[in-house]
């Protein structure tokens, strides 16, 4: 029933906290070897709870989960040997230096000291902490601690790495270099990675597959492209010097093209197409053939942002919302993500 090379198998997993908090509500998915799988969801969606079940910290109340072929409930110690975790909350020790933290981590994971030494230098270099390695962690900034945490998670070269919001609180540069690094790990070591994030761009940049989770349920599970397709195609906005009806007519008659507003606004036409890469040359060629002067062209790819709204927007959890109207404007929903633009 499951594919051979699935390293994480989650089957109708459920976690109900004392009473009736359904933190994880019957979710099922698989992660193949070497894949990067991302959980995307707002605060309180159940991401951390899922990770803590998979990393043997929390007992599920229903369903089952396997990591590397071992049941997380029945064989937790075997699971622990093969996994690494970079938790959402910091666990580094403030009173030790960065290097000492790494050494401790190495010994907890049974890395022989001779191997550990080299790896520690390598990893500290990678997270750009080589210069601060011998300083106490209490003198680190929040982002430095987070990077140390990431380096710790990698010291024993786990087969499956769990990253709970790996870039939360990092600056844009560090975030980007973290992404590069995660992609590199995947390419070079075939490590399987399970990550959670609020950042839509992050899931897009890293993941082979994304599960959108909300209220403990997976509401969409697909590749980033698939999710974007489900939301609709690209939007092309063409600005012409003079908008005439026959231009609109021509566009309307093309296949696979939808004219969004049915008219120009400020000499701009908005066109929705499944794939702008294919459609745009065709449209431009036709326009130039008719001697239409094009002033500007803009292509907007559908974002996961939109995807998220599409899948969760109907079921808003705005507690303060009292009206029965549950069709909401995108504005307030976006506010729930830590967006950085």
């Amino acid at each position: 029933m499951y594919s051979e090379d699935a390293v994480v198998i989650v089957d109708r997993l459920e976690k109900v906290y004392s009473g009736d908090v359904r933190a994880v509500d019957s979710i099922s998915f698989e992660v193949g070897r070497g894949a990067i799988f991302g959980f995307l969801g707002p605060n309180g969606a159940g991401k951390t709870t899922t990770i803590s079940i998979l990393t043997t910290q929390t007992m599920p109340t229903g369903g089952r989960a396997e990591v590397l072929g071992y049941d997380v409930v029945k064989e937790p110690s075997k699971v622990r040997k093969g996994i690494g975790l970079v938790p959402q909350e910091l666990t580094v020790d403030d009173e030790l230096t960065g290097r000492e933290n790494m050494e401790l981590q190495g010994s907890l994971y049974g890395v022989p000291y001779s191997d550990a030494k080299g790896r520690i230098d390598e990893l500290l270099d990678l997270v750009k902490l080589a210069d601060s390695a011998d300083r106490y962690v209490k003198t680190y900034s929040g982002g430095m601690k987070k990077r140390l945490e990431l380096a710790e998670g990698l010291i024993h070269r786990p087969e499956v790495l769990f990253l709970d919001e790996p870039t939360l609180g990092l600056d844009v540069q560090t975030r980007t270099s973290m992404w590069e690094h995660i992609n590199k790990l995947k390419r070079e070591t075939n490590m399987t990675i399970f990550l959670t994030t609020h950042y839509l761009e992050e899931a897009d940049a890293l993941c082979d597959r994304i599960g959108i989770i909300d209220h403990g349920r997976i509401i969409a599970l697909d590749t980033p492209e698939g999710l974007k397709k489900a939301v609709g195609g690209d939007v092309i906005e063409i600005e012409v010097v003079e908008c005439e009806d026959d231009i609109l007519e021509m566009i309307r008659n093309m296949t696979d093209v939808v004219l969004v507003d049915g008219a120009c606004t400020d000499n701009r036409a908005r066109i929705k197409v499944p794939d702008s890469g294919v459609a745009l040359p065709k449209i431009l060629t036709s326009l130039i053939d008719r001697d239409v002067q094009v002033a500007s062209v803009m292509v907007r790819k559908p974002s996961l942002d939109q995807a998220f709204l599409e899948f969760t927007g109907r079921d808003l959890r705005d507690e303060e919302s009292t009206s029965g109207n549950n069709k909401k404007e995108p504005g307030p929903r976006k506010g729930r993500f830590h967006r950085r633009r």
Partner: protein
């Protein structure tokens, strides 16, 4: 299992000796007790007021003065306080996420409490040694009385003392580390410590001679584990069974049984607490 235990002990000790305040406290707290309590509270003088010269050794567990009596009791307190700290420290580790790191790591669960008990023992034994040395060196200070060892005190006696203290340290820290794992709220743990602190401390013969206690208190004190420890140690230090409640063998048996009980209870509690929620 050995390797990670040692790494964790080293981690605990680094946290300790790198905090200057802690090092100062190692010396000043016992100094305070010895000076203010041991010297000021010299109830030996009371007994000698008037003519009825009793054999003070009967009151002071073989010692001829109160200070020597209480200095030995003081070492037992060191073990008690160190155990409190070990319990509190593990609660802090939970609070700051370090415990969750240990829970994910592929180490036997027992390593978590065991390493903490061991590091607590290292610290407390060091402090106990400081207490003994300080108390003995008081004799060099004019106007102060010092801890007077029997002339026949030897290495075997010193090792015997260490054994008593280690057993006490193991049993108390097993209990408090387990409590630190079970209780997840600081106020509750502090409250619990306070609740246990007084009865453990003042129903023992560590600071107050059993001979001076009212009957009901004496009945309790005779079964206080700290009493077994100080009773045994005093016989080793003063080399006499005069004023002792039990023989050294019985004292050892008493604290031995208590250790087994506390370690079992601690293991039971810790196991439950480290199980996944």
């Amino acid at each position: 299992m050995m390797k990670e235990t040692i790494s964790l002990i080293a981690r605990d000790l680094k946290r300790w000796y790198r905090t200057p305040a802690q090092i100062i406290l190692v010396f000043t707290t016992p100094l305070m007790w010895l000076l203010l309590f041991g010297q000021a509270f010299n109830i030996g003088r009371l007994a000698q007021v008037g003519d009825n010269m009793t054999d003070l050794r009967l009151v002071f567990g073989g010692a001829t003065d109160y200070f020597s009596f209480m200095a030995i009791g003081q070492t037992a307190f060191i073990m008690l306080f160190a155990s409190f700290f070990s319990g509190v420290s593990i609660l802090w580790d939970r609070k700051f996420g370090f415990l969750s790191k240990l829970q994910v790591a592929p180490i036997p669960r027992a390593v978590i409490p065991l390493s903490r008990i061991a590091s607590s023992l290292v610290k407390s034994m060091l402090q106990a040694t400081v207490v003994i040395v300080l108390a003995a060196s008081f004799v060099l200070v004019p106007g102060l009385s010092g801890l007077r060892f029997s002339p026949s005190f030897d290495l075997a006696d010193a090792l015997g003392m260490a054994l008593f203290l280690i057993l006490l340290g193991i049993s108390l820290s097993a209990l408090f580390v387990a409590l630190g794992l079970v209780v997840r709220n600081e106020e509750t743990l502090f409250g619990l410590i306070n609740l246990l602190n007084f009865p453990l401390m003042f129903t023992s013969s560590a600071l107050i001679p059993i001979a001076l206690m009212p009957d009901w208190l004496r009945a309790i004190a005779l079964y206080n584990p700290i009493t077994f420890v100080v009773d045994g140690m005093r016989q080793l230090v003063f080399d006499t069974s005069v004023g002792a409640e039990y023989s050294v063998a019985v004292d050892l048996l008493g604290i031995g049984v208590f250790s087994v009980l506390m370690v079992s209870l601690g293991a039971l509690l810790a196991r439950r607490a480290l199980l996944r929620g």
